[in-house]
Every structure is written in structure tokens, then in C-alpha cells.
């Protein structure tokens, strides 16, 4: 097939850079034109306090190893996403159907890197379609609190202990009544739900690194749905990652080994 002389990926990239620059500049110019001469807004005290907090928070955040979904539960962190390897004691690769798992054991944690087995699709969507997976078994006492789908990449379910959450909600409502709005509650009086919880997550574009805190923990490598599965148990909490040949999953929370495996085995496809 004839290849025209003026083609190249580089041409496209250069044109894209020029066009993107123009669009970004246009959007900013429009904002400036509309609002540069506008009067200054009257900000709430809560907003001004939050800006002040940014300065104190900025450097702290740079030093934290966190995974954005779990960071809000700092007291319960079992799983940390890290982007750089530290000195490893041993490395083992296990090839599964759609996913590859690279396990690195360190003194205090075990890192499992989950990636697409086919190099050509790494970094891209692995599984598409108008369906998701969810567990049909949920341990007694837990209720679904949040269902979230982040565009195409994650399907996320969060369960809480019904009784503990009801108590938390009562205290939170009392604070809102006291201060008028949730934003008006001063930081030192804010409360967060710290009761028992479970999280189920389905990933459709898997390039994740999960680190299990294995210091004084039980760590097991199993098989689930024909794929490797990685389980850790510590302080009454369990974490499990595995795939079913279509998508990859993670379960973690206040579960026993028996409960987490039962919940994992109950995961089934649900049409959207």
C-alpha cells in the first residue's frame, strides 16, 4: 500500500502539542477575560482554614506512601501502592492467564505487582463490556454503603458494619446540628468512620502494585478460580487479590480467612 511522504507519528504528536497548547490557552484566556475584573469572593472560614492547612500538609503528603483509595483510612492501612522497589530478598514471577504477578518479599512487607501478561496491552484496558462483578456473599452485619464506578477503570463496593455505622452517623448528625453544616465543623471535632468495613474492588486496567504488610502477619499464596491468589491476615483484617481470567479483584477488610475466601468465591458477573 502506498505510504504518503508527509506522514509520521512525530507529525501527529507535534500537531497535537500545538493544538493542545492552543486549546489550553483559549480556555485560560476565556476564564481571565470573564473573571479577572470580578470582585473578590467572600470565602467561608472553612475554606480559608483549608487553604492554610495545605501548607502544613504539602510536605507531609510528599513523604507518605499511599494509595488514594485507602489513604482516607490511615489507621487501617494494610495495602500501600508503591512505585519504587527497595532492596528485595527474593523475587518470584508467576504467569497466570491474563495477568502476571511478580512477588517480592521484603522484611516487613510483600509486594505483588499485577500486570497484563500480554506486553502489547500493558497500560491499556484489559476487559471492556457493560457488566461488572460483585460478591453475592457478605458476612452478617455488613451492609453496602457505597457503590462507585470510576469511569471504566474500577468498580468499587464498600460495606460497613451496620450497627457501628449507624452510631457514627448519629454522632456526625449531632455535630452538623451543632455547627450548622458539615464544612463548618472544626477539624479537631471532625469524626471519621473507623468501624469495621469491607472493600471489594474490580480492576479493568491492571497495572497495579499492591504491598501487603507481612510483618507479624500470616501470608499465603493460594489458587482461586484457576489463578494465583495472594492472601494476608493481620490484626483481624484480611486482604486478598486474584483474577478470574477476565478482571482482577481485591477484597480487604475485617474478615477471617474463611470469610474472605467465601466472599471471593461468591464473586459473579452482573450485567449493567
Amino acid at each position: 500500500m502506498h505510504r504518503p511522504q508527509n506522514n509520521s507519528a512525530a507529525d501527529f504528536e507535534a500537531l497535537l502539542a500545538r493544538a493542545a497548547g492552543q486549546i489550553a490557552a483559549e480556555q485560560a484566556a476565556e476564564v481571565r477575560k470573564k473573571y479577572e475584573a470580578a470582585p473578590g469572593p467572600e470565602y467561608s472560614q472553612a475554606f480559608l482554614a483549608s487553604i492554610e492547612e495545605i501548607g502544613r500538609d504539602a510536605e507531609r503528603q510528599k513523604r507518605l506512601l499511599f494509595w488514594n483509595r485507602v489513604a482516607k483510612r490511615a489507621a487501617m492501612i494494610l495495602i500501600v501502592v508503591i512505585t519504587a522497589l527497595t532492596a528485595a530478598l527474593s523475587v518470584k514471577g508467576v504467569r497466570a492467564q491474563l495477568y502476571e504477578y511478580f512477588v517480592t518479599h521484603n522484611d516487613e512487607y510483600t509486594q505483588v505487582q499485577v500486570t497484563a501478561a500480554d506486553e502489547k496491552v500493558r497500560g491499556r484496558m484489559i476487559s471492556e463490556g457493560d457488566y461488572h462483578y460483585e460478591p453475592s456473599f457478605v458476612p452478617r452485619g455488613f451492609v453496602l454503603r457505597e457503590r462507585k464506578e470510576e469511569y471504566d477503570f474500577f468498580y468499587h463496593l464498600e460495606y460497613v458494619d451496620e450497627k457501628a455505622y449507624a452510631e457514627f452517623e448519629q454522632r456526625r448528625q449531632a455535630l452538623i446540628e451543632k455547627w450548622g453544616t458539615e464544612d463548618a465543623i472544626p477539624e479537631e471535632e471532625r469524626i471519621y468512620y473507623n468501624g469495621p468495613f469491607l472493600m471489594f474492588e474490580e480492576q479493568r486496567s491492571v497495572e497495579g502494585v499492591v504491598a501487603f504488610d507481612t510483618e507479624d502477619a500470616v501470608y499465603k499464596e493460594l489458587e482461586l478460580d484457576g489463578s494465583p491468589a495472594y492472601l494476608t491476615l493481620k490484626n483481624g483484617r484480611a486482604t486478598l487479590i486474584w483474577d478470574n481470567g477476565d478482571r482482577a479483584f481485591m477484597l480487604f477488610g475485617h474478615l477471617t480467612e474463611e470469610e474472605i475466601l467465601k466472599m471471593a468465591r461468591s464473586v459473579a458477573r452482573v450485567e449493567d
Binding site: M1, R3, P4, N7, A9, D11, F12, E13, L15, L16, A17, R18, A19, A20, G21, I23, A24, A25, Q27, A28, V31, R32, K34, Y35, E36, A38, P41, Y43, S44, F47, A49, S50, I51, E52, I54, G55, R56, D57, A58, E59, Q61, K62, N68, V81, T83, G123, R124, M125, R145, R147, K148, E149, Y151, D152, F153, D183, S205, V206, E207, G208
Partner: protein, 190 residues
Amino acid sequence: MLPIMVFDTPEQKSKFEEAYLKYNKMGFYYAREILHDDALAEDALHDAFLSLARNLDKIGEIDCNKSFNYFVTIVKNTAISALRKHKRAQVVEIDDEDTLFQLEDSAPGPEETVLRQDSYEALLAAIRTLKPEYQAPLLLKYANGYTEAEIAKALGMTVSNVSVRIHRAKQKLIPMLREKGGAGFAQTTE
């Protein structure tokens, strides 16, 4: 009154203060234009400044257009995200607006497509029609020259998400360019 902030170095503090003084008003009104709510606009503005604070070393002079372009892109992205979150109750519903654009043909990657100079206007029009969640990472990469890791940090996403979104944004652009550009495009094949 400028809130007191604490940074590691006086230069960082000064830079953030300058950004706050120069950008806060425009950022607030822009966010409010999207969100139609003062409190939500404040939240989005806070998130945008938080992102800026975490990426101060990547931003040039506050006075320059490129830095302001970056800030506007971030505000737009945080405001749109807040709008989506606010619209949804406990159960997420995927309505038609949120359904991803499905390519009708199996378009090859951009690297395999021929592009001629007269396609520039078509490309501009195509980028403008991208949904914000695809446009924002694309603009940060190609307009601001950020790496995918830097974009992930700025937008609060994972690097793989950024990578996939940029790839998909480019995949969406090609069929749009064919539609708008007509004979201006050709496709290479082996």
C-alpha cells in the same frame, strides 16, 4: 486576607502565596460556573490549590500564561469531578452522557495514521469535543509537557489511568479527524 501558610522554603511559600493571590478569584468563579454552588466551588478550588502546592516545583513563573493554563485545566477537572460526584447518590448510575463514545470502526493507533497540515483546524475541533476526563490529561501532557506521573499526581489518579486515558483520547481523535477532515487524511497499511 491571605491565610498564613507553612512551606519548606521561603521561595515555595512565596510562590504559593503569589499563585493564590493571582489565581484564587478567577479559579473560584470558574469552578462556580461549572458547579453553580459556592460551597462546591470552594471545595474544587481547594483541591486545585492542593494539586498546585504538590506540584510547585513543576510550575514555572506564576505570572506566565503556561502556569495559569495549568491551573485552569486543574480547576476544570476538579470541578467536573465534583459535579459528577455530587450528582450521584449512593448508587452510581451510568447515564447516556457518561457512556463512553464507542468507535464504530476499529481505528488504528495514531501512529499509523497519516496527518496533513490542513488537519490542524479539524484537530482543534476534535479536541474541543473530548469529554473533560480525557481532555484534561491530554492537555496537561501536550500543552504543559507533563509526564504521566506528574499528571497522575496533579489529577489524583494512578499513572496507569492517565496512560489509558491519553491513549483513548488519541484513539477518539482519529475518527473525529476523519469525519471532519475528509480527504485530508489517509491511513497507512502494511
